[in-house]
């Protein structure tokens, strides 16, 4: 059984079809990639898989369970957690507080425990701090526990965001552009962290633009363009395919001809083909 099964998923916003008849699956324990040019509908897919958005039609099954009747905040119980492209930190909260929020689904106390001082509440509070500290250690940001989260550098915020998602104890972690705005050094660090998590048995679905990152990290890749699937397969198969190159670089024949001609004239625009060299 797949960890995630998406079958003919469609999402329309008014007249705009953001995702159209998309099907793919992620096998358990894999690092899967979902790639495509800007505006291809990647984030829309992630939003639906994480329960923030509902599909217009089609089904999403997580570990065999259909999610069409499940509410947004209940997706946690199916073992789904996610990160965001723009990270969405809680302003004014410290680093450790972020992870404590992430632990919410594992707490036993209710609203009424919060009204008077009581030992149950106090005990749980201490336990949650310890647990949160463990997750910070996994991401090696435990020395920053008391800092204000929004003042951290980009790479560390990303680590914190992953720690916050891990606190829900997911089986499938969705990452929306985990290397957005990062330099080479930072993004290879993120890749290292993700590989480590995967070795501990976590399934990952990475939405990315950064082709090199996806090629180095993922075992299975699905490429979408204009909300439709182009193809899926191993990174080698996918990134060597004409179809995918066309999606990224335009119609190849014309484009290449133009480049060739401009090269001869000595006025070519610098198109970076390096990323696509296998």
């Amino acid at each position: 059984m797949s960890q995630l099964d998406v079958v003919s998923l469609t999402r329309q916003f008014g007249g705009l079809t953001a995702v159209k008849d998309l099907s793919f699956s992620v096998s358990p324990g894999a690092i899967a990639g979902l790639v495509g040019p800007n505006g291809a509908g990647k984030t829309t897919v992630i939003n639906m898989v994480s329960g923030i958005d509902k599909p217009t039609s089609g089904t999403i099954s997580i570990a065999g369970q259909d999610t069409s009747t499940i509410k947004g905040h209940e997706f946690v119980r199916l073992g789904i957690a996610r990160t965001y492209q723009n990270m969405k930190m809680f302003h004014g909260l410290s680093v450790i507080d972020h992870v404590i929020v992430g632990l919410d689904s594992r707490r036993k106390t209710t609203f009424f425990h919060a009204l008077v001082p009581n030992p149950i509440e106090r005990k749980e509070r201490a336990a949650m701090r310890d647990k949160a500290m463990e997750f910070l250690k996994v991401m090696s940001i435990d020395h920053l526990a008391e800092s204000e989260a929004t003042t951290l550098p980009y790479g560390l915020q990303r680590r914190l965001e992953i720690a916050r998602a891990l606190a829900t104890e997911p089986k499938l972690l969705l990452l929306d552009e985990p290397t957005a705005g990062m330099n080479q050094q930072e993004s290879s660090e993120v890749a290292e962290v993700l590989r480590g998590l995967n070795q501990k048995g976590l399934t990952l679905l990475v939405v990315e633009h950064n082709i090199k990152f996806v090629r180095d990290l993922c075992q299975e890749v699905t490429v979408i363009n204009f909300g439709e699937k182009l193809l899926s397969g191993t990174p080698q198969e996918v990134f060597n395919s004409q179809l995918v190159r066309e999606a990224y670089l335009g119609k190849q024949r014309d484009e290449r001809l133009a480049t060739f001609q401009s090269l001869r004239a000595g006025t070519h625009r610098n198109i970076n083909m390096g990323e696509f060299a296998s």
């Binding site: 947004g72 997706f75 946690v76 930190m89 809680f90 004014g92 929020v101 009204l115 749980e124 606190a167």
Partner: protein, 296 residues
Amino acid sequence: MSQFWDIYGITFEFAFVLGLFALSAFLGLWSGVLSLAPIAYASGAAYVSARLAYDKVMMGEANYPLVFHLFVGMVVGGFLAWITSFVLLRLGSHYLALATIALVLIARVIALNLDEYTGGTVGIPVPRQITTWHILLILGVVSVMFGVLRKSRFGYSLDAVREQPEVASSLGINVQRVRRYAFTFAGVLGGLAGVLQAQLVQYLVPETLYVELAFISIASAVLGGAYIWVGPIVGALLYTAIPEFLEPFLGSSKNVVNGILLVIIMVFLQRGLIDPRQFRAWSLKRKSRQTKEVAS
């Protein structure tokens, strides 16, 4: 000292009750909701409590004990908030704010038209049972509650829901439920404060608990700092103290100066006077200085 208390005692009492109103407004803000509704619930609670006392006294019997009235206030306030939350919390941010203003306006119209029970425009006298110490004690208990709440599961959920509702939901927090609890709890506090306010004024008319008080309670919460419970209380004290302090010098033009002062505070301290973020920055700085001293 006792002379000072004779003059300013009543001012302090009003300030403390305003502190309670500000806390109920703060609770809404804490869940990411701007709501003036607690005043409407306060009005309902105050009328029920006042009517019960009035009937007793008219019959020539002894009034109910204070604790009973406070309890009635909390139950009525909480119940009204809980019922209306199902409709109001369906609305998004500013629509919700407008709807709660409407609720305050509606409460007045209802109070005017149910004159059989509320006395309409004439109003209803309220026997005073509270002392300054009662009010201080209540404010103290409520403050302790907020202190516990802040670092509890519910407090963290509120923080998350205010800052990033979408993320809160994806972390398994039921955003609607958290908001409903906060809204209801704000109603309970509002009802409590309403009963106190009515007893302070000792006479209840539909305008006793009305939009002016609603705006002042929101302003106190925002001025004092809507990120920790100390803020609204400090805000309420200042909001009462500043005009009182200016009165002897400026007479009725105090309101203008009051307004200007508030604008200045809000321009330079956007997160209010009491900001936990600032305290964290200070304590981190102190810690790093201490470790440096140890090292050298």
